[in-house]
């Protein structure tokens, strides 16, 4: 809302500077956007919150200023001479849809001379950024900007049948607005029609067919109430927002419907001549029911934390237009809200009015807050630990969009097969699918870096995925797993090492839980170079908690990435349980370790994991560490289809120094168990 300070001075005489006015308005709820000079006038743009449609007119702003400066407010009381015939004889008004238009009035002015507006009117409109059209149209704009009540003037000669019908639009009905564009209407919108066709989009814009032009002599002046929803449906649905729709979406002062009509009629008579017909043709019932609100004086300090004397409370409310009901007891006063403050209907609303006029700078800022214990949630602990490990490993945290393109969303998710969820409108162009995995976004982010000439962007992200639940469960149709994902340069082993580090950092395995690595075939990971990690936990079904793998060559090629690139995604929400686990400390042994290397030969199909499990089972508590040193295949020396694992074992006892013989017995047991489980033989 742009206000003219000259215009404001018509209603209230202000002693201070414009800057002082701006500051006072700012601190009482009308935010300042900008101030600039226009000719001999000053324009001040203020931001009016949606609860204050009264301040979408100069009178409303003047009323605020009058209260802030303690000055009287002068609002004119227009009484135009009704020298013509009975308006209702030539015009009929019918409201067919009372839900979109509770109240409609029409005045008729005959014999006007449409022409240019006087300079003062042109100037005032120019200050607030509105171009002059002609004297009649300018008056309707002027009165709207004065009162906050939108008006519309029709050329009465073009209203067929002298009939005004307010109804819902017919689905698909065409309408040409005064901007000479044609719109297709929906039944969510409302129109003003004459005997034959729509002549205005109710509350939004008039029609081209009936607009005021140089040839106009008779004017039908509309002043009405329109409900917010059909107005918004039209303004938003057709991208046709106007000063009028903006006000009707917020609800102008009902008392201004008639006032604005009289005011505009008087100004048209003065500026364009003509004769006003007697009376306004009205239909419907004016919706205006100001609330009566009780206020307990002590309530103000209960909310604000500062005392405002009861007499001062009463002064503020009275100046704002609230009327104290006679016979109120002193402790509980009752106030009737003014018609322009339909946002005030509860005691707390009165408290806010008192607070904003009294000023929030009176609220103390040294109140005491008692100390309270705070704990980090398991989720916070989990996502922080995972992030710490990945940052420690040199990765950068990325943030990518939760909503992706259809192509990106089509990438299979490790977490569910249901189709991605669709939203409207799209988040950004083309992106209207909630992602089921973060990996496609991270691969795209890595590709974006490559395009910028950076080949080593190792990125991770911790964010939600969104999965449609198959059946409507009590938890709702959408599951939101918390995912930690990364994309790094390097082969499978690097990604596996990072996953191990995260899982180790979370303390997931151990005690009654263990991890199980299994081959996985899941795009965009390369077949034969990918795995899933399952958590096997007593009392729970084994569950996939991570996928890891090298990114398939085709995917790399599509994104312009050079391999090898590996990726992983972990389901952190499934790992939150570990945050609460207390792992018992294992006291390090004081006794020396014994190192033994073994070289076991197995069939090429035997996975290392099986050999490792056999070693752990056989060596038991005496196994300190078991490190795979080398894997090699050599048909000549090992035989075709065989491979060898060179393993460095470190043995150590917590009870005493291991002798060579004891160590030898452990190694024998390990070799025997490997033989039993996976047919391993000891080499050399």
């Amino acid at each position: 809302m742009i206000i003219s300070t000259n215009w404001l001075a018509d209603y209230v005489q202000l002693p201070g500077t414009v800057d002082d006015l701006v500051e006072r308005l700012l601190m009482s709820g009308l935010n300042h956007e900008a101030t600039w000079a226009v000719g001999g006038d000053t324009a001040v743009e203020i931001e009016v919150t949606s609860n204050r449609p009264d301040c979408l007119g100069h009178i409303g702003v003047a009323r605020e200023a009058a209260v802030l400066y303690g000055r009287p407010l002068h609002v004119p009381d227009p009484r135009p001479l009704e020298a013509g015939g009975e308006a209702a004889r030539s015009v009929t008004v019918v409201i067919e849809a009372g839900d979109v238009c509770p109240f409609y009035t029409a005045r008729v002015i005959r014999g006007v001379r449409v022409g240019p507006s006087p300079a003062w009117l042109v100037d005032r409109l120019a200050t607030v950024g509105i171009a002059s059209v002609n004297n009649v149209v300018d008056v309707t704009n002027y009165v709207m900007l004065e009162s906050g009540q939108p008006l519309h003037a029709f050329d009465l000669a073009k209203i067929r049948g002298g009939r005004i019908v307010v109804r819902r639009a017919v689905e698909g009905e065409p309408f040409t607005a005064i901007n000479h564009k044609t719109y297709t209407l929906s039944e969510r919108m409302a129109v003003i029609a004459d005997g034959e066709r729509p002549v205005a989009l109710a509350g939004v814009m008039g029609g081209a067919d009936t607009e005021i032009g140089p040839e106009t002599t008779d004017v039908l002046l509309e002043s009405a109430q329109f409900a917010p929803l059909p107005v918004r449906a039209a303004a938003r649905g057709l991208a046709l927002a106007s000063a009028s729709s903006y006000r009707f979406e917020r609800g102008p002062d009902p008392a201004m419907v008639d006032w604005a009509s009289r005011r505009a009629a008087a100004m048209i008579l003065e500026l364009a001549g003509g004769t006003l017909d007697r009376g306004a043709v009205a239909a419907g019932v004016l919706a205006c029911a100001p609330a009566t609100i009780p206020l307990v004086a002590s309530r103000v300090s209960d909310v604000l934390g500062v005392e405002v004397p009861a007499s001062r409370q009463a002064d503020i409310l009275t100046q704002l237009g609230f009327v104290e009901e006679p016979g109120s007891p002193d402790r509980i006063r009752r106030y009737r809200a003014p018609s322009w403050r339909r946002d005030c209907w509860r005691e707390i609303d009165l408290v806010e009015e008192i607070a904003r006029i009294e000023g929030y700078d009176r609220v103390p800022e040294d109140a005491v807050i008692a100390a309270r214990p705070v704990e980090l949630s398991a989720r916070e602990v989990t996502l922080r630990r995972a992030g710490e490990v990945l940052v420690g490993a040199g990765l950068c945290e990325a943030m990518t969009r939760s909503v992706v393109t259809e192509a990106s969303a089509a990438t299979p998710s490790p977490w569910g097969e249901a189709d991605p969820l669709v939203i409207a409108p799209a988040l950004v162009r083309g992106a209207d699918r909630l992602r089921r995995s973060l990996l496609p976004s991270l691969l795209e982010a890595r590709a974006g870096n490559v395009a910028a000439g950076i080949d080593d962007a190792d990125l991770f992200e911790i964010a939600r995925g969104y999965l449609a639940r198959r059946e409507t469960s009590a938890a709702g149709p959408v599951e939101e797993p918390l995912l930690a994902s990364f994309v790094v340069g390097g082969e499978f082993a690097r990604a596996k090492g990072l996953v191990d580090a995260v899982l180790g950092g979370l303390g997931v395995a151990g005690g009654t839980s263990r991890l199980e690595w299994r081959p996985l075939d899941l795009s965009p990971l390369a077949r034969g170079r990918a795995a899933e990690v399952r958590l096997v936990r007593s009392g729970h079904a084994p569950a996939r908690i991570a996928v890891v793998g090298e990114v398939a060559a085709a995917e790399l090629g599509r994104l312009g990435l050079r391999g090898p690139v590996s990726a992983a995604e972990l389901r952190l929400d499934a790992l939150e349980f570990a945050a609460a686990l207390e792992r018992p400390l294992v006291k390090p042994s004081d006794f020396p370790a014994v190192d033994r290397d073994i070289n076991v030969v197995v069939d090429a199909s035997v996975p290392w994991g099986d050999v490792e499990a056999a070693i752990h089972a056989a060596a038991g508590e005496l196994l300190d560490t078991c490190r795979l040193v080398q894997v090699w295949e050599d048909a000549e020396r090992l035989g075709a289809g065989r491979k060898s694992f060179v393993v460095a074992l470190t043995l150590r006892s917590a009870a005493g120094t291991l002798s060579g013989e004891e160590a030898g017995r452990v190694v024998d047991a390990v070799v025997a168990e490997c033989g039993r489980r996976v047919g391993a033989t000891l080499r050399g």
């Binding site: 806010e352 609220v363 800022e365 100390a371 945290e397 939760s402 870096n449 969104y466 149709p477």
Partner: protein, 339 residues
């Protein structure tokens, strides 16, 4: 058999040797003098220490441990004196011979970086944690009740317009679902499940259909605080925000309230903090609207509370001098590695 060397004489020789070495090395004026001293005292073939070592063998058996101890002490001491002298004169001693070019690069350690948005959120969490506020989280896909109705946002309110929200194609029965447009939804969920007293900060991603530009992005982060305790007033709100601002920005930061409007708070205010000599808008706040307290089953006559919300991108941008918030989502590591 010759008579044993007397211990006294042996020790006296050692001390004389030590004194001579001290004097000679301290007086050595150049590397050549140091080297000459090294040959004189520690020379492998004809050094004076070598000569005394021979005398060590001549000590009586009972005297040998004491003599050996002293011999070793003196040998160590002279070695140290030599090193000191070499260092002093820059003589080509053992360590100096292998001196390295200290300007050569170190073994690279790739440092990872948390995203500036995460860092800002953590900092807010940490400060609010000290004030007794616990971090909570909730779903991003929300229903009408939690995103609007419980927050006193009526069906006619413009905030509910389909064009101003991201609605899902699926619904829960007849209830449309949407991506949450504010994290206040989490506050409703916590209040529905817990009784006061309550102090929480809810944080996370929120979604509003804004066209992306330097100051808008359709996905952004909010941090919202909520305190519900009997006897809470706006003075508590202002005090908590002042403590927050002073911790976050450093120094004694002033806080200013300007009247505003939000459906779920009453009174509602915009919060300005003094930053760099100017008032900077940090977010919105207010007393929890009685209608919201009633919606979650609290009695507004018994408890009251306040809530405030901060836009994380805005704070992070200002803090780090980022002039286009889209940079936060470009994921260019040249940007990310600066945090």
């Amino acid at each position: 058999m010759t008579a044993a060397v007397p211990l006294d004489a042996f020790l006296a020789d050692l001390e004389r040797l030590r004194a001579d070495a001290e004097r000679t090395l301290a007086g050595a004026a150049d590397a050549a003098a140091v080297e000459a001293a090294r040959v004189e005292f520690l020379g492998a073939r004809s050094g004076r220490l070598k000569a005394i070592q021979k005398a060590l063998g001549g000590l009586a058996v009972a005297d040998k441990p004491a003599g050996g101890r002293h011999f070793n002490d003196v040998k160590t001491a002279i070695g140290a004196l030599l090193a000191t002298a070499q260092e002093r004169l820059g003589a080509p001693g053992h360590d100096v011979l292998s001196a390295i070019d200290v300007t050569l690069p170190g073994t690279p350690v790739l440092r990872g970086h948390l995203h500036p948005i995460t860092r800002t959120i953590r900092r807010v969490q940490e400060i609010m944690g000290r004030l007794g506020f616990e971090s909570v989280d909730g779903p991003e896909v929300e229903d009408q009740w939690h995103n609007f109705e419980a927050l006193a946002i009526s069906p006619e309110h413009p905030a509910r317009d389909p064009l101003d929200n991201f609605y899902l194609a699926v619904a829960r029965g007849a209830d449309p679902l949407l991506l949450r447009s504010q994290t206040s939804t989490v506050q409703i969920r916590v209040m529905e499940n817990r009784e006061p007293p309550l102090r929480i900060v809810s944080l996370g991603r929120v979604y509003r259909p804004d066209t992306a530009d330097a100051t808008h992005y359709p996905m952004f982060h909010q941090v919202e605080g909520l305190l519900v305790e009997p006897g809470t007033t706006m003075a508590h709100l202002k005090s908590v925000l002042r403590l927050f601002a002073s911790s976050f920005l450093g120094g004694d930061v002033r806080v200013r309230f300007r009247p505003s409007f939000f459906p779920f708070t009453e009174p509602s205010v915009e919060v300005d903090m003094e930053w760099g000599g100017r008032w900077v808008e940090m977010g919105g706040a207010g007393m929890v609207d009685p209608a919201v307290l009633e919606a979650v089953g609290y009695d507004p006559d018994v408890v009251s509370g306040f809530a405030f919300g901060l836009g994380v991108e805005r704070i992070a941008a200002r803090r780090h001098g980022v002039d286009d918030i889209r940079d936060f989502y470009r994921n260019d590591v040249r940007f990310l590695r600066q945090f």
